[in-house]
Amino acid sequence: MSFKIFQINEEFVDVMPKEIVELQENATWGNPKRGVIDLPFHKELIEEHSLCAGCPEAAALRYIMASIPAPEDTVIVNSTGCTSLVFPHIAMHTIHSLFGNQNAVASGIKRVLEYRYPDRTKDVIVLAGDGATVDIGLDCTLQSFFRQERITTICFDNEVYANTGGQESGMTPKGHVFKMAPKGKQFEKVPMWQIAIDSGCHYVARLTVSSPKRVESVIKKAVYVAREVGPTYIHLYTPCILEIGLNSDQGLEEMRSKDKERFEFFEYVSPAAAEIIEKRKAEGLL
């Protein structure tokens, strides 16, 4: 894997579609200082996506793809859900795993990459919804934390099983009613960020995607800490505007309102992680 794989042979430049030529000429490969600031000026790694208009997940994915420090050396493992509709359209290595076992698959990939490329840094990032991370996949998620796998896990929490019609999930707040959960949630929202800390994650963050710069900051910290210390976990609020009855232009407003409530920015940094973060800051990478 190398960003050389995107260098088009000169004989074929004239027959390649414009967006593929732009990936070579104007995407931010090989630059660890890449970030959301590049979004208006450089080619994005997401070409198009099939999410609903105004979906906050789409914004989250764009910010994450723009922030990953070394996309040419990163593998993303994802799981079934709305996010999995996007992965076929991104210019990165992605693997779609069975529902819930994404952290187990990522653990294997990380170990093989370390064995196969001992001289190169390879990042493995898990990106899955709350159902895959917390409900059905909780076992695999936590076991990877216990084993101190050096992977980053990002949970897109929309607090509901959205693309199957609106069933409640473990992340649904108590009392919330959805189309397929008419009685309302009977128990509290699972505090996954706290469970991640207790299970051995070295960097944990909980936030909405209302602030692109903040998303960039936590993604970079999580990846750098996972590279050298151990598992990291990011919990992102990406509301399903359809399931909570909002219009396509109201996603940002919804996230901003939750910035002050149950998704108030929270960050945990272990002492070992703090050392790495300081080091990267000194290098100008954070």
Binding site: S2, N9, E10, E11, V15, P17, E48, S50
Partner: protein
Amino acid sequence: MAKLGPMGFSPYPAAVKEGVLNPPEGKALLFDEMVDEEIAMKKAARAMLTRENPTIFPGPQVLYAWSEDAKKKAKLIKELADVFGAKIIPMYDYRPKYPKINPEVEINPNHPNLTIWHNNIKACIFVGVHCHYANVALKIIRAETDCFTIALCSMEGHEDAMITLRDQHPSELEKFIEIAKEVKRELDK
């Protein structure tokens, strides 16, 4: 299996089910027949020179400059396209594209028939497409179109193509170009 087309669903899901296997080293596959490489090259050249809208579909292994071999092959494929007067439509990656591909300028292994239908391609060459995706695409093309498919494979070949040339490296491509020029002269084109 050894039939060309017709359009519509193929009654044969895979050539291998009909007992058609890839050729051994030094040989080529012409429909379900093992033949010498030169014979297959001549037939392939004739198909590309006589059928409508001949097209070369280069895959990622030759489209991108990831190795010296890939750079050499790119030059040779371009030369081959000039000899055949063929169009080049790239299969630059294998992602299912949303909302749909532009069949005028690209081909995708998930629905290669769209590009073939749109451009009315009656003969094509697959080169530099990774094994699995070439196999999928060639099956779909055989099932859904009347296009004559030729696989220039750097490994063991693809039994679902009508002509399979295996172990095709730069030296073999040079040989194919020479044969193509010869056939072109014979056809007085």
